[in-house]
């Protein structure tokens, strides 16, 4: 039955819109589409962005792995490599600081009237993505395959049989980090 739902293309487009609505609503309520909130995070003065991300990770991880263990869902792990997951994200990070928004929060910022997010964010990100498509064949041949580690998870890295032996400690560390941030008044 769930497969029929997944294969219903028209319904899935509607669900995408609905889930996006909720995502955008939440991002805006969390103030993480505000230039100042994002920049103050990058300046390590205000940890709102990290608090949102870490609590999403803990909550999401518990449910997603529980559903995976129950056989309800399958994971969507992206394969990675040192050549892909270090230089690209560092360039992303530099852009993140210059722009003051990431792709999702650019969209959210335009929605509260930030025109720099429209011109710089929406247009700039598309230009950057288009430029990437132009150089992709060369990078694929020479760079993206450097230090390939596939779609390994931390569970594979620690080579444990029971995934909860990694999930629970990761959750505990995240909660501890959040408690320390609160304690420090950040």
């Amino acid at each position: 039955m769930i497969d029929a739902l997944h294969n219903n293309k028209r319904l899935q487009l509607m669900l995408g819109l609905l889930f996006g609505f909720c995502f955008g609503f939440l991002l805006q309520k969390g103030r993480v589409c505000d230039y100042e909130v994002i920049m103050r995070q990058l300046l390590l003065r205000d940890f709102t962005v990290l608090k949102v991300m870490l609590s999403a990770i803990v909550t999401g991880m518990a449910g997603v792995y529980a559903m995976r263990e129950a056989g309800w869902i399958k994971l969507h792990k992206k394969a990675g490599s040192l050549g892909a997951n270090i230089p690209g994200p560092l360039i992303f990070g530099i852009g993140f600081g210059l722009l003051g928004y990431c792709p999702g929060t650019s969209v959210g910022a335009v929605a509260h009237g930030a025109l720099d997010a429209l011109v710089g964010g929406i247009a700039g990100i598309m230009i950057g993505a288009g430029l990437y498509a132009a150089v992709y064949p060369k990078l694929k041949e020479h760079v993206l395959n450097i230090g390939d580690f596939g779609d390994k998870t931390l569970i594979d890295v620690f080579a444990v049989r029971n995934p909860w032996a990694v999930i629970l400690p990761v959750a505990a560390i995240i909660v501890l980090v959040l408690l320390v941030l609160e304690k420090m008044g950040l």
């Binding site: 939440l26 103030r31 909550t59 997603v64 992303f92 993505a129 288009g130 992709y136």
Partner: protein
């Protein structure tokens, strides 16, 4: 009822409520749509659609667009939804206001719109380029990938912040 309406109109919620909400939303997208939350692929698909409209069908022959076919899919609709959801959220809490230069930028670098836009476009290009290079952004890697404990996503998320903190510290010394 009025407390629900008050909460919906409140301009800012606790980051933990928002984070937990995004986590629960992820459960739903995995279960009902067999998809994780992710934003930047839709930008690449839109870039491909625009390039195709301007330069013609030969654009489809590019290796990147063969492997990632431009078109309207679940992830594209998700981004449209993000815009509408954020707009409704901002509107009902009275936060919608057109602004070219954020006040924090203005205090440090002045009110010149073109200076701000030049930095924003340069930043946006790096964000778009870097997101495709690393195959994900702060949503796809930073939230969806990390919650699945994917090694490449944790590495990417760390690099997003290393790059971002570095440039922010240089800008706002």
């Amino acid at each position: 009822m009025s407390t629900v309406i008050d909460a919906l109109r409140d301009p800012s919620w606790s980051p933990y409520v928002v984070g937990a909400g995004i986590g629960v939303l992820s459960w739903l997208t995995f279960l009902f749509s067999d998809h994780p939350l992710g934003i930047s692929t839709a930008f690449a698909k839109t870039a491909g659609m625009i390039e195709k409209a301007v330069r013609g069908p030969k654009v489809s022959k590019k290796l990147y667009y063969q492997e990632n076919q431009p078109g309207i899919d679940w992830g594209w609709m998700l981004v449209i939804g993000v815009f509408i959801g954020a707009l409704v959220s901002a509107w009902i809490s009275g936060r919608f206001r057109l602004e070219w230069v954020p006040s924090m930028w203005e205090e440090a670098f002045g009110a010149n719109i073109f200076v701000r836009l030049a930095a924003a476009v340069a930043g946006g290009i790096c964000v778009g380029f870097g997101a495709r290079w690393g195959n994900g952004c702060t949503s796809g890697h930073g939230i969806s990938g990390t919650m699945q404990l994917v090694l490449g996503s944790w590495l990417s998320a760390a690099c997003f912040f290393i790059g971002g903190v570095g440039i922010a510290m240089l800008m706002y010394r």
